[in-house]
Symmetry: C3
Subunit: 280 residues, 3 copies
């Protein structure tokens, strides 16, 4: 828990301080006026969730928990991408130990964020596919900027979103819509996401999105924090417990699947496509 | 099962008879024309759910079950309050045996009402916070008068609604809305409750609310009562079974929580506030 | 797996071939252009689900699975009835061995259809009560013609829809609406079904309904089929597993219930009514 410097980064909401510089791929700033922490992912170019970013996310969520912040707002330093989801490079021709650590760390992040004792909201200031959507739907509230897309598009990539991705998705969407979107690997535009309830509000700028997230967190101002936290955790207990009970199985299932030649081939083709795109 | 006197209390719906005078804090009247029983809570000043009212509710629900009434309509004798919820005095500086009996009786009432074999509806003719909302959402249908409020506002009082309160709430609201409202301890106005589906209809008077409840119960007129009852109980079996399996745990959890000094302090402050209010 | 003849039955969608003539109460035609199989129930007069039709449904679903069709569209050869549901004659004064085979076969059909690895859709070209509604809600998408009705009306017939009927229903409807409709044994008109989400689209002819089903199945064109299938099966795993675990119990429960004198009497009265109707 380092609180080293004070920056005036969110001038409209009053002074805020940088809570931690110990991590490099995330920053945490606490607004001194509201007591709300903004957790920003900053791993160029697309906030791909690799082992290091996931570790930094875990550390930052832990800091926010233990510093008893009034809330957590998750956002991105990138102007067009919230998070592109799991870093495919972690899954393509993976090194044995590293891929285990990678998936275990992803489980950690979800357990910490979905089960967080503080109010959580996502200021979705860019595209949010797959793992990006997982992070957003693990929060309690979502505000999104226009002209971006969000969804669990795993089937489009030839992979299967595990049960706990589904749990987060189902905490937000009705069963019929959740299943169909998952099967289709559907990406929703901001407008579609608002319509179906996948997000709660839209905002015209990142600043406004963060403000709307802060306003949501402000609705808990008169609520007893302990009672609130226990209520949330009891509500989410079955989902969280399911992964806790099946963590090892879930890891082995993922490893078995990702190591299938057909899956490796698919990921290879996908990466090749990304390279060509970036060269253009 | 006492059926002692006949009163013409619901003239527009034909004669009705008072089914029982054995209990004092509830009355049960059966409409002779429709066969529907109206169960009225009448514990001044606010239908606070204390041990005695809960016992009388259990007895009355049991009577209605065993007399094979065509339906049960739950309402209040109070002009502005359906039920103010659990009587805080049962929880503040509680006597050891009494608080155990109190919580056990609350469990009984919920198991009997949520699992009732007859069609149930609530004519919500006043405010319905916390335990009042629990009773209302344990019924199959809700008609509410305007300008009142309803919701599970436990977190506002520093307490945690147990899992079975959540089950009743989730039987009515989508998961996203249910969780958010629970975490916020949100009270909905009649209009908001209608919009979100927490109630099914509004009515401009208690009489009209009771009539609309009776109309809902009338939709089962052509349905086989045994098949209907088995269908409802199968639908609600998982929720009911969960409390049955965890009754002792649920009781101990409640006792542990309510006896925390911080919770006792919070309840004390709340009661102090109520006293000041009533003196004004 | 017999693929004997080619018929030009769906001219607008290009040539299709009859996949199987081995069964008599169902036909399977595969559209050569789209690769989608249309499974048609054709047991006059009302596609009553008796042992033989259920066996043929199982065989046809199995064929479609093993031939790796791009999708399955379930429809009826009858102009006004999709399926009238379980054939009451299987349940009225039943022969011991046959009724066991009948119910076991119904379980098979549900497990195969609800758990099907290929995309499924129902072109509901007629009334679809009870078991007809079960088949329709076991598919992933529903397109229905106007002026028909659909619903699980078991309670109207004095019987109880088992848990897995409820699971299919709940995969489509919110809990509050699903429970109420089940308890009421409510039949929805096409318009009401669209409004509540029990169906996804309407169509003015069977041909258009099949086309819209094909368009839905077409949304999976760019999705990896294996990932899609595993995603769907994981999503539906809990429902499927529950019946798998309780198959024997579910059978005994059904047999016990159906053999109750009151139930037999009710079925007798119902059959008598049907006879009188058909004589008119």
């Amino acid at each position: 828990m380092l609180r080293t410097k004070v920056f005036n980064l969110l001038a409209r909401n009053g002074p805020s301080r940088l809570m931690s510089t110990a991590t490099k791929l995330t920053t945490v700033e606490v607004n001194d006026k509201t007591g709300i922490a903004t957790l920003t992912m900053c791993r160029p170019p697309v906030n791909g969730l690799n082992l290091e970013l996931l570790k930094d996310l875990s550390t930052s969520i832990g800091e926010i928990e233990s510093n008893k912040s009034r809330g957590l707002i998750l956002t991105s330093s990138n102007a067009t991408i919230f998070s592109a989801g799991l870093d495919i490079l972690e899954m393509y021709k993976p090194e044995k130990e590293r891929i285990r650590a990678f998936w275990t760390q992803l489980q950690e992040v979800w357990l910490a964020l979905y089960g967080s004792s503080v109010p959580t909201a996502a200021a979705i200031n860019g595209h949010s596919p797959a793992g990006g959507c997982l992070l957003a739907t693990s929060c309690e509230y979502r505000v999104m900027l226009p002209k971006f897309t969000i969804g669990l598009n795993e089937t489009q990539l030839g992979i299967v979103a595990p049960k706990w991705f589904m749990a987060s998705f189902l905490s937000v969407l009705p069963q019929r819509q959740a299943e169909r979107a998952l099967n289709q690997g559907r990406m929703f535009t901001t407008e579609e996401a608002l319509q179906i309830g996948l997000i709660d509000e839209t905002a015209s700028s990142k600043e406004e999105a963060v403000e709307k997230c802060a306003a949501f967190i402000g609705t808990f101002a008169k609520v007893n924090p302990l009672a609130r936290s226990l209520t949330k955790q009891q509500f989410r207990a079955a989902d969280l417990q399911q992964l806790e009970n099946e963590r090892q199985d879930d890891l082995e299932k993922f490893l078995f699947f990702v190591n299938q030649p057909a899956v490796q081939k698919g990921l290879g083709i996908y990466l090749e496509g990304l390279k060509k795109k970036s060269k253009k």
